[in-house]
Symmetry: C2
Subunit: 136 residues, 2 copies
Amino acid sequence: MQNIIEVLKEHNIAPSMQRVKILEYLRDYKTHPTADMIYQALVNDIPTLSKTTVYNTLKTFTENGILVALSLFDNEVRYEYNTDPHVHFKCMKCNKIYDLNKTFDLYKNEFIDGHKVTEHYVNLKGICKSCLKEGK
Amino acid sequence: MQNIIEVLKEHNIAPSMQRVKILEYLRDYKTHPTADMIYQALVNDIPTLSKTTVYNTLKTFTENGILVALSLFDNEVRYEYNTDPHVHFKCMKCNKIYDLNKTFDLYKNEFIDGHKVTEHYVNLKGICKSCLKEGK
DNA sequence: ATCATTGCAAACACTTTGCATACGC
DNA sequence: GCGTATGCAAAGTGTTTGCAATGAT
């Protein structure tokens, strides 16, 4: 488990309470939350927290490569701790986004039809395991 | 080339001037435009056109399966004439979205880790052919 | 004391809604 | 003439910006 304060220092970001809590949340809960979900999750802990700070902090972190901002589905931005690329799956019922341990190296750093491909995303949608169970 | 008015009638949608022009635009220009791009493209032709009508119309068309609304990249909704699934590529320089003639049947209608997969998207980003040329 | 971070309020961009007018059969 | 589509204006979201107050060293 990485030490959050160390991570911030490595990126030359001053470790404030808000920043630590936000990054900690994303490290510990792999739920790919939106900015609002992060705010809702932390505002009990830090009652003075403002959404502006959440937005500013997420921006700082993504600019420094600590987080990645994902626009995968349904016109919403979700954040995750920066990791190796992997497949995402979104449940259409509970709206959770899962990481899948599928690898895919198709198309990466290739030229297709003359276009230079540098990023690629494989995004799946459907009904997740636990919603399938409940549905019964 | 499909007759736009016929298409509308088949879906029980009354063919108005605005609806015909919007659908025609999406049939003829495979540019995956946003609502605003469609508005900008047509407002010269129909000076009284309002964005509300564009939004309403796109909603009607997607609900009827004539169009698909895509949230592929960068938190924006783009529309395309409904076709077989294919790979999309977005140029990070000119922001154009291209269709690629790559097929992919991986993961479709499969169960992965217990999740039922019903939709899948393969989205690529990079620099397109024509921006590569200009860059020289 | 200085400089950066926070967070309120306002601005902003995109989209939807309410409703009166206009259009088409 | 009636029912629906249109389009203005206003409201609703999600996000960013300006700036004064606060916090940390």
